[in-house]
Amino acid sequence: MATTFEDVKEGDSIPAFVVENLSRTDLVKYAGASGDFNPIHHDEGFARSAGNPTVFGHGMLTAGFVARCITDFVGVENVRRYKVRFATRVWPGDTITCQGRVTKRYEADGEGRIDGEVAALNQKGEVAVSGTFTAALPRRG
């Protein structure tokens, strides 16, 4: 069940979601699912010819992992906005930890809403994706 508006306080943390040992297969699955076939994410030769050591993850794959953190916390139908910024890239073998916290709790347009900040960190603690979201939470019935 999604969290209710009454249950949330500003500063609350959002349970983390961890992806261990990101694989090239994960990148290929996301390429197929999303339709993003930029070869830099699956073609080793292409990635190297563009000056990269190997293929790297789609920013939106990591953003999809982060979205799971948000929807597990607020419920899919309750997300009103989700904005992400891409920082360092993720590479095969990386472990990615998605986490977040509630930054604001308020009423707007008759809804009980929260804003939050989220991030995906690699195993070195570097930010791969940072983001913000807005959600309208159900009220305790």
């Binding site: 992806v19 994960d26 699955k29 996301y30 197929g32 699912a33 999303s34 339709g35 993003d36 076939f37 930029n38 830099i40 292409f46 010819s49 563009a50 000056g51 990269n52 789609h58 920013g59 939106m60 794959l61 953003a63 999809g64 992992f65 979205a67 799971r68 948000i70 929807t71 597990d72 419920g75 899919v76 139908e77 997300v79 009103r80 906005r81 989700y82 904005k83 992400v84 910024r85 891409f86 360092t88 890239r89």
Partner: protein, 148 residues
């Protein structure tokens, strides 16, 4: 480097359609490692937050709907992505979408020389004529391959 036609900035491209299918929702949810039951059921399922990225299956490439800028894919970085959700998107929906390039500007980058920023926006309307979502993105084209 990118070719830019500034006269096309802000001008909506031609509309296209995309159909929302349960199988695609399930495939997408698996790819982002999300077992949420909200993505599994024919009657109640809903598109995940970043599902609209699958628009790529319904257009030739970004250039097909964003005619103001032709980008060099070898030097292309994804800077930001912003989703605004107005109504739920469900299997069986047929969405009409249109895109525009909102802005283009250049900045000096720390890691890759001059960087070109391209801000795009896509609006999605369902079969009942309701706007369901906006998707905005910032693409960055670097002068050299990016380090780091």
């Amino acid at each position: 480097m990118a070719e830019i036609d500034k006269s096309l900035l802000g001008v909506w491209g031609p509309p296209s359609t995309m159909r929302i299918e349960l199988g695609k929702i399930r495939e997408f949810a698996k790819a982002v490692k999300d077992p949420n039951p909200a993505y599994l059921d024919e009657k109640t399922s809903i598109a995940p937050p970043t599902f609209l990225m699958t628009i790529a299956h319904w257009v030739g490439d970004l250039g097909a709907t964003r005619s103001a800028v032709k980008l060099d894919y070898r030097r292309l970085l994804h800077g930001e992505q912003d989703f605004e959700y107005v109504k739920p998107i469900r299997p069986g929906d047929t969405l009409t979408f249109r895109s525009r390039t909102k802005d283009v500007f250049e900045k000096d980058g720390k890691r890759g020389g001059k960087m070109l920023f391209v801000i795009g926006e896509t609006e999605f309307t369902n079969q009942r004529g309701e706007v369901v979502a906006y998707m905005r993105n910032t693409a960055i084209e670097t002068a050299d391959a990016v380090k780091g």
